[in-house]
Amino acid sequence: MDVTRLIIVAVGGQGNLLSSRVLGEAALLAGIPVRMSEIHGMAQRGGVVESAIVFGDAESSIISDGCADVLVGFEPSETLRAVNKCSKDTVVITNMTPLPPFTVAIGRGVYPDLDQLQTLVKQKTARLIAFDAAALAKEAGNVLSVNMVLLGALIQTGILPLTAEQIKEAIRTKTKKAFVETNIKAVDLGIAAAAQS
């Protein structure tokens, strides 16, 4: 089967690893080969967390520059930082709620302008789906469900060999029971947001 390569970037604490896990479990349920790699050395200390997920018949579990079919960014500046993983054929999905790093607060860097950021990503890739996932997470009932909103948007694009139902099944069976309802609502809001963009 064809190979689909997905990169997810986030800031520590945004729930990137849970969203990767849901995708992996959904692939397992669907009988699709999957390998994932994650770098989370100091995730809890506010660093960048990057996951690479490879679906289909391949052996590698990491993704080289220029090779991602989809890039999902949980934070706009991190999306831009990961553009090296993209090509002109890549679809990019990003949350637009900034989480400026502390280096900006102490004057050791300037946070990029959000309009310019979108223009740049659009120019370099096939398609950009950008929206305020944090607002939708709030609407779903949990500000921490940004990860599930973005999963919804990702599924809506149809790029992954997975259906929305398979994702929801993985959420129902593999995540904390207390959050299942809000998580599924968040996925649905993400699906709707991507459909409108």
Binding site: V11, G12, S20, R21, G24, E25, A27, L28, P33, V34, R35, M36, S37, E38, I39, H40, G41, M42, Q44, R45, G46, G47, V48, A58, E59, S60, S61, I62, I63, S64, D65, G66, C67, S77, E78, L80, R81, V83, N84, C86, S87, K88, P100, P101, F102, T103, V104, A105, I106, R108, G109, V110, Y111, P112, Q116, L120, K124, T125
Partner: protein, 618 residues
């Protein structure tokens, strides 16, 4: 029940490499497991620790890797299966025990896991520990995938029992921290009861005994080579005159590359999974069937040097390449495109690498280095020491832990770092060689690991230095593992003893001991000043629980602060503490109430007393 205890052979699970390894040890019937935690190995022990509470096998967090290896070695010499795991640099700590254990050998199977870290995602060097196999003369195996890792752990135990030697199991970060689908196998119930049979002529390596044991070791090594030549983990894929020899994750990259380059019928791969001793006969036969050979291995040219000498022995004139300015580097990790490109160039095949976007018009994106957490007691201690040492010409040796991050501005407290425990030892050297004020930092777990010996040295040789022990009640950096100073009752665990750092320091005869509570800023600065003014060895113990740990234990009382109208925008808070809870908006500082836990350190340094508790915060 812990998911890795599931007794459903044939069930498929999505597992992290480290979970798969823990499961492999469990399936193999491990009886004693020991570790000192270190990334990227930490989740193996974390899972075994949790599993041991619901199972018969014994698990312990040992004080350091050397002790951990000694524990496992003795267990294996009592006839039970033992598993000892550590990060790659931990092998350096354990090396003294390790090198001679090779002479003694084992009775029950013993596996020593070394988690190497190419690219140094969370390490201070990227040493290639395959050389430890060669150095000690011990067998070494290394998997290429998560699923294979689980099976290979079981193989390593069997191999160890066959050879009566410990077996090294080497991983790299991309195995430890990858997820893959793994099929559960049957569980061998552990034989937990061992018995030690006296055998001093084989187990007490005084010179006369050791001379015989070295002979035995070399005999075993020869036997190991014969097994390696037949091992299912050294195999050939595909057919053709072009040869590739690879190990570990490079195997997956090479497989994908041959598919992409449509070379599957022109090139064959020799995958080496049992890599010390290298199977000479198998490699020589492989070379004879090739016109040229490319060796793909991250790290050092471990296989390459051996393969070239095999070719020389056989008088083979074929081209063999690996590490080369135009091919593979000894630096960092490999990736699929790099491997594909190098295979194509070596074999003269056309290949267009994927087009990477032109990033020349992308503005510089602010760095996002990891930072000490909001409410981290280390930030307070660093600030206090910095204030107390104002005007002094200082050297700040630091150590391995979260507090290493204190070297970043604006705290900038960290001038010299080598390895676990070195802050104490290095301080003695700075004291001997300079007139500068030496103030070293070490965490509680690191102090127990190997800092005590440095402090003993300081007292004995009467050095002039201050050692600040940052006691946050846990081994925070690697995920809050216990250490000998931890209150195990807080974790609901009984049967442990707690060692008081203060009692240890007192027993060593340190002449000046100061205990501070770092969230009391002014009082602490005064106490630290006195300690710094002391001529000789002074120790400051800074006691405050790790915020993240307290959160996990549900003992953290969050009480966020906010910046009131009294603020005159001095910005001392943000400029001197750089707590991640601060946000700069329109040149004014704001505190994120969702991040602030209420340590109140910033409130104590604000010249206007403008930072106050936020009322009615939910």
């Amino acid at each position: 029940m812990h998911k890795l205890l599931t007794n459903q052979p044939g069930e498929k699970m999505l597992l992290l490499g480290n979970e798969a390894i823990a499961r492999g040890a469990f399936e193999a019937g491990v009886a004693v497991a020991s570790t000192y935690p270190g990334t990227p190995s930490s989740e193996i022990s974390l899972n075994l620790f949790q599993m041991s509470h619901e199972s018969d096998f014994y698990f312990e967090y040992s004080t350091n890797e050397k002790v951990s290896l000694e524990v496992a070695a003795a267990a294996a010499n009592s006839g039970v299966r033992s598993f000892c795991m550590m990060k790659h640099v931990g092998m350096n700590v354990a090396a003294d025990a390790f090198m001679t254990l090779a002479y003694l050998g084992v009775k029950g199977g013993m596996v020593i896991l070394s988690a190497d870290d190419p690219f140094m995602f969370s390490s201070q060097n990227e040493q290639d520990n395959r050389y430890y196999g060669k150095f000690a003369g011990l067998p070494l195996v290394e998997p290429s995938s998560v699923a294979e890792a689980k099976e290979m752990v079981k193989y390593a135990f069997e191999l160890s029992e066959k050879l009566q030697e410990p077996v090294i199991f080497r991983t790299t970060t991309r195995i430890n921290h990858s997820n893959g689908i793994v099929e559960l196998g049957p569980i061998t119930p552990p034989q937990t009861q061992g018995y030690f049979k006296k055998d001093p002529m084989n187990l007490v390596p005084v010179p006369a005994v050791a001379r015989n044991l070295h002979v035995k070791l070399l005999k075993n090594l020869k036997l190991a080579e014969e097994i390696a030549a037949q091992s299912e983990y050294n195999f050939i894929d595909g057919d053709g005159e072009l040869g590739i020899i690879c190990n570990g994750v490079s195997y997956g990259y090479a497989k994908d590359a041959l598919k992409e380059l449509k070379l599957e019928n022109k090139a064959k791969i020799l995958r080496i999974g049992f890599s010390n001793p290298l199977p000479a006969s198998l490699i020589k036969d492989f070379l004879k069937g090739c016109t040229k050979v490319l060796i793909i291995e991250e790290g050092e040219p471990f296989m390459e040097e051996a393969v070239k000498s095999f070719a020389f022995e056989e008088k083979l004139g074929l081209t063999i390449k690996g590490k080369d300015e135009t091919l593979f580097s000894r630096l960092y990790e490999f990736d699929p495109v790099m491997v594909t490109k190098n295979i194509a160039s070596f074999l003269d095949v056309a290949y267009t690498p994927p087009e990477v976007p032109d990033l020349s018009d992308v503005p510089e994106i602010p760095q996002r280095p990891p930072n000490l957490c909001a409410g981290c007691s280390h930030r307070a201690t660093f600030y206090i020491v910095k204030q107390a040492a104002k005007g002094m010409d200082t050297i700040y040796p630091t150590d391995i832990g979260c507090y290493t991050l204190g070297f970043l501005p604006p705290l900038s407290m960290g001038d010299f770092l080598v390895c676990m425990g070195a802050s104490a030892g290095a301080s003695c050297g700075f004291s001997a060689a300079t007139d500068q004020k030496v103030i070293a930092f070490i965490g509680d777990s690191t102090f127990f690991h190997s800092g005590i010996a440095g402090l003993v040295n300081a007292v004995f040789n009467n050095h002039n230095l201050t050692l600040v022990i940052l006691d946050n009640g846990t081994t925070a950096m690697t995920g809050h593992q216990p250490n000998p100073g931890v209150e195990m009752e807080k974790l609901g665990l009984e049967g442990y003893n707690r060692i008081s750092i203060k009692a240890v320091v007192e027993a060593l005869g340190v002449p000046k001991i100061t205990v501070i509570k770092p969230f009391k800023v002014r009082k602490s600065i005064k106490a630290v000043k006195e300690a710094l003014d002391f001529k000789g060895v002074s120790v400051i113990i800074s006691e405050e629980i790790c915020t993240l740990y307290a959160k996990g234990l549900k003992t953290l009382k969050v009480r966020p602060f906010h910046i009131t109208d009294k603020c005159k925008n001095h910005k001392n808070c943000i400029n001197e503490l750089a707590c991640p809870a601060f946000i700069l908006e329109n040149d004014r500082v704001r505190i994120d109430p969702d991040l602030c836990v209420g340590c109140a350190v910033c409130a104590q340094i604000c010249p206007e007393n403008a930072i106050l508790p936020l009322k009615n915060h939910e």
